[in-house]
């Protein structure tokens, strides 16, 4: 019965949120930096999806006799690396890898963080325990946490994803918990509770939607951090396994060739910078557009 009584309320919500969506989009599109970021992200997505059609070599095809060709060489407009692999092809396939790593680790991290945050925020009894665990994770510098996890699981891209996901959990949990705490006290939630709506229903239908804004901003910014962290792990030799065209691994490998073939490190370096920058400005723009007073750091 209680749920029927709530129908009108629920029915109203999407409409309200749609207009908010429009409003946010309009604000976002006014922000030149954010638009630039969106374009970069879009380009990366296009590269990732169309990879096989826009390159003429596979990213792992070696040709030792054509090693270290510079930018603008015939057949390899971005040159080749020390194994004669086409840099353009590696760059394009690398876009795929970095999106894949970013998205999966953020999604897993969010799943964990949201669950913990919701539980901690909604159930006072669980709050203490969960937040202590979150504090525990928080007290490790992220890169150290990732190193320990990789030491335990072994070096592979999947384990990097797991490590970075776990690293995202505490930040996300804190943000979600904070939003839950503020939403929980609002009258309509209190009303629903008194009407006997189930906890799960309240959490999923009413509390979670109200946390979406900070979560979206967090996720966008987190994409940037994930891509950077993957590259840092690759620099320490703990990232993707060769010959995977991962940008961070490409930079790390290219640093040894800084003098003979600077393009090997500059090309992927610029790619990472652009993409991370793009996610950061879009996140920043989203925050301004959604709620300028949103206050958090991950």
């Amino acid at each position: 019965m209680a749920s029927e009584a709530l129908q009108p309320n629920v029915g109203k919500k999407p409409k309200k949120r749609e207009s908010q969506l429009l409003q946010t989009t309009r604000k976002l599109l006014k922000n030149k930096l954010a638009v630039f970021g969106l374009i970069v992200i879009l380009l990366q997505m296009i590269m990732a999806v169309t990879a096989p059609w826009i390159v003429s070599y596979t990213p792992i095809e070696q040709s030792l006799s054509d090693a270290e060709l510079g930018i603008g060489s015939e057949g390899h407009w971005l040159g080749t690396d020390n194994y004669g692999r086409d840099m353009w092809s590696r760059l394009v396939y690398g876009a795929r890898v970095s999106l894949l790593v970013g998205v999966t680790s953020v999604v897993i991290g969010l799943a964990g963080g949201i669950t913990l945050g919701l539980l901690a925020g909604y159930y006072k009894k669980l709050d203490g325990l969960i937040m202590r665990i979150v504090d525990l994770l928080f007290a490790f510098p992220g890169i150290l946490l990732a190193m320990l996890i990789i030491a335990m699981l072994g070096t592979s891209l999947i384990n990097v994803v797991i490590a970075i996901s776990i690293w995202s959990i505490p930040g996300c949990a804190r943000i979600v918990r904070g939003s839950v705490l503020s939403v929980k006290k609002q009258e309509y939630v209190l009303a629903m509770r008194s009407m006997g709506a189930s906890d799960i229903r309240i959490i999923l239908k009413h509390i979670l939607p109200n946390c979406t804004a900070p979560i979206i901003v967090f996720a966008t910014m987190r994409m940037a951090t994930s891509i950077l962290s993957t590259s840092a792990l690759s620099f320490l030799g703990l990232g993707a396994q060769p010959p995977t065209p991962e940008w961070g691994a490409m930079i790390a490998a290219g640093q040894d060739f800084m003098w003979s073939s600077p393009h090997m490190t500059i090309v992927p370096g610029i790619a990472i910078m652009l993409v991370v920058f793009a996610f950061n400005v879009v996140g920043d723009g989203l925050r301004d557009a959604l709620d300028p007073n949103m206050d958090f750091n991950n």
Binding site: L33, R132, D135, L136, F138, A139, F140, P141, G142, I143, L144, M147, L148, I149, A151, M152, G154, A224, L228, S231, A232, F235, L236, G248, I251, A252, Q255, M258, T265, G269, I272, M273, V276, F277, N280, V281, D284, P292, N297
Partner: protein
């Protein structure tokens, strides 16, 4: 205030025990045997067994953990598997370097961040604002190992202004400062960008706030208004960033120390993880975690002092 400190202190101890357990177990679960690293590729099976026994690695893991914990309670951090030297000594010789690096990069971050943030806020939407916001965002987008190598190339190899690496002169000497500049910039860039963003947005809020308008209306000169009223308020986010970022900063020292050949705790930590030098990994991780928690406690205290509205129930 006192009860806050006492409570946090107990939390800290519990947290450290939790962390020590996690790290201890993860190192023992991780593949890789310290004995085979010490023995090297030539060690025979009996050599390895002898090494394991001398390290106490043949006891059950839980017994080892309890031994370790009771050692710590007696102030004994144990001995490195690799060098057989006291872990406390190993950390004490390196910790000053890491601390210098962390503080220097925080100073760099605060100077650049606060200046840029305030100017951007005062001259909102000016070319300075737009470009500093862009640069700030670019700053947190650069992989810092890459930035480090680029800085070495430019300032040390090409221009020969600053030394390439190492950190052994005391920080108060000219040589020491020169050695710190590049690593501090490398490590501080990310935090600088964050501080710039935070202080810009709080400054904007403060400037728009009523009391500033009132002050302006009363005819106090604009510059005075900004520096006196606004700065104190802008300090709060800066302190937050320091607290939150301190962990990331300590993590960042791992890579910065690697690139600039600085003998610090970060490097001790990666070397120890790679060599499965359990006692060293334990102690360094505990140290870093304790530092992080302590810094955040201090941040909370400063908070409470600056802004009496904040209370900790």
């Amino acid at each position: 205030m006192v009860s806050l400190i006492v409570r946090r202190f107990f939390q800290l101890i519990l947290l450290l025990i939790g962390i020590s357990f996690l790290v201890f177990m993860s190192m023992h679960i991780a593949p890789g045997d310290p004995a085979s690293i010490i023995g090297g590729p030539t060690a025979s099976a009996s050599d390895l067994e002898a090494i394991r026994e001398s390290l106490g690695l043949n006891k059950p893991v839980l017994v080892q953990y309890v031994d370790y914990l009771s050692g710590i309670l007696q102030g004994d951090l144990g001995y490195s598997f690799q060098t057989n030297q006291s872990v406390a000594d190993a950390i004490m010789t390196r910790f000053p370097n890491t601390l210098n690096l962390a503080i220097a990069s925080m100073i760099v971050a605060i100077i650049i961040g606060v200046t840029a943030g305030i100017i951007s806020a005062v001259k909102q939407n000016s070319w300075f604002d737009v470009s500093s916001t862009t640069i700030a965002l670019a700053g947190i987008s650069i992989p810092n190992f890459w930035l480090g190598t680029m800085l070495i190339l430019l300032f040390s190899v090409t221009l020969q202004w600053l030394p390439v690496g190492g950190l052994n002169a005391p920080f108060y000497t000219v040589e020491g400062i020169k050695q710190l500049i590049l690593p501090a910039i490398t490590l501080g860039t990310g935090s600088a960008a964050m501080i710039a963003r935070m202080s810009r947005s709080t400054m904007l809020e403060v400037i728009r706030a009523d009391y500033i308008r009132t002050a302006k209306a009363k005819g106090v000169r604009q510059r005075g208004v900004i520096w006196i009223h606004a700065l104190r308020n802008a300090m709060i986010p800066v302190i937050t960033v320091i607290g939150v970022n301190f962990g990331a900063l300590l993590g960042g020292t791992i890579i910065t120390e690697q690139v600039f050949a600085i003998n610090g705790v970060g490097r001790l930590m990666i070397d120890a993880i790679a060599a499965r030098d359990f006692p060293v990994v334990q102690a360094t991780v505990l140290l870093v975690a304790a530092l992080f928690v302590l810094v955040n406690l201090i941040v909370d205290i400063i908070y409470a002092l600056i802004d009496p509205r904040i209370s900790y129930d």
